[in-house]
Symmetry: C2
Subunit: 194 residues, 2 copies
DNA sequence: GTCTATATTGTGATAGAC
DNA sequence: GTCTATCACAATATAGAC
């Protein structure tokens, strides 16, 4: 598979359009032709950049995960205290959702996992693990400093926080009045602080 | 749309097979022919019971929501204390997930909402609202008795708990080592109790 | 990098017989 | 309630020209 950093500008436009469709409709819910129409080209031109749909989506996941991990690094650099890091983390989900109520790329794909090519599922697994690992580290740090409650372990809290934010995006789309990731982020924070 | 209580045994077999496929692969991820194959009949026989795919899935949602609400009523009858009711509630999600790592029907459909017929989305919205309403009532009751913490309001806690359990199912499929709804249920309970 | 044209398969849905 | 046969179209993907 191509690495996303070697993409031409045309390939990036294809990737952007496909990611948006993926976040709105899921892997099985959009076609190569949908992508082509959004970009303003024809189907075979999409295949010129990405031979198969699986490769296209695997590249989306790769780029998405890379960008996300860069955001995590930025948060750690900018925020020193665990509560501030957690608040900024929730903000990442809120920002994605604020843009046309888009779902997390990997949240969507995780739900569909059984219907996906193996190379896509692998990228999703890595993204999930990276998130839980990062959260567990931040939470453990906060627990040592007495800023985060100690009772459920760092890893249990991390899984719960990550899942709650992913779940909040799903609820937010299915239900107009539901709390989105922004509101759930606040609720989580007040529960998790010592 | 037909009501699920008037279904013939053959129609119920079709509905069962379709629901399983829906929970594993999503609305766009299974076809009428997939359903037919699982039941052991041909495509037109599926259409004989449900004229369109939209009607088939809308009926699944209707039946699923009805059964779920019956479970909620049973929990309220069997468990008097809010913490026990919440634990039993989380158990509903754990039980679904324990069966072949199936997703909640409406969790799956909520993620796909943008690609779905209106009659399906309407059923999903109703299911979400029923869950948050029920949880908010149970939590408010627990707050009055001093068994549930008072700080985030009942409705905020309810949205968070529901979303966390839905999210845990998504994580559980995408990531082998992740906490499923069972583990997340325990974490949630220990956070929410006073 | 993009196109037209095409192959192949899958899709939801219908007609009409048994 | 189920079937065969069929329709109209949409899907992923490829060949080969410009």
């Amino acid at each position: 598979m191509k690495h996303f950093s070697e993409l031409t500008p045309s390939a990036e436009r294809v990737l952007d359009a496909a990611q948006s469709l993926l976040q709105q409709r899921g892997y099985s819910g959009f076609s190569i032709d949908d992508v082509a129409k959004d970009v303003g080209i024809r189907k075979p031109s999409v295949h010129h950049h990405f031979a198969t749909k699986a490769e296209l989506v695997a590249t989306i996941v790769q780029r998405y995960a890379h960008r996300f991990e860069a955001e995590l690094a930025r948060i750690e650099a900018e925020q020193a205290a665990a509560p501030d890091r957690l608040a900024a983390y929730a903000g990442l989900f809120a920002r994605t959702f604020a843009d046309e109520r888009r779902l997390c790329v990997c949240g969507m794909l995780g739900a569909e996992a059984d219907a996906l090519p193996a190379e896509v599922v692998l990228g999703v697994e890595r993204f999930f693990a990276a998130n839980v690992d990062w959260l567990a580290r931040v939470i453990a740090h906060g627990q040592r400093n007495g800023l985060v409650r100690r009772k459920p372990g760092a890893r249990e809290l991390a899984s719960m926080v990550f899942g709650a934010l992913e779940g909040a995006m799903v609820l937010g789309r299915g239900m107009q009045t539901a709390a989105g990731p922004k509101e759930v982020g606040h609720t989580l924070l007040s529960l998790v602080l010592a």
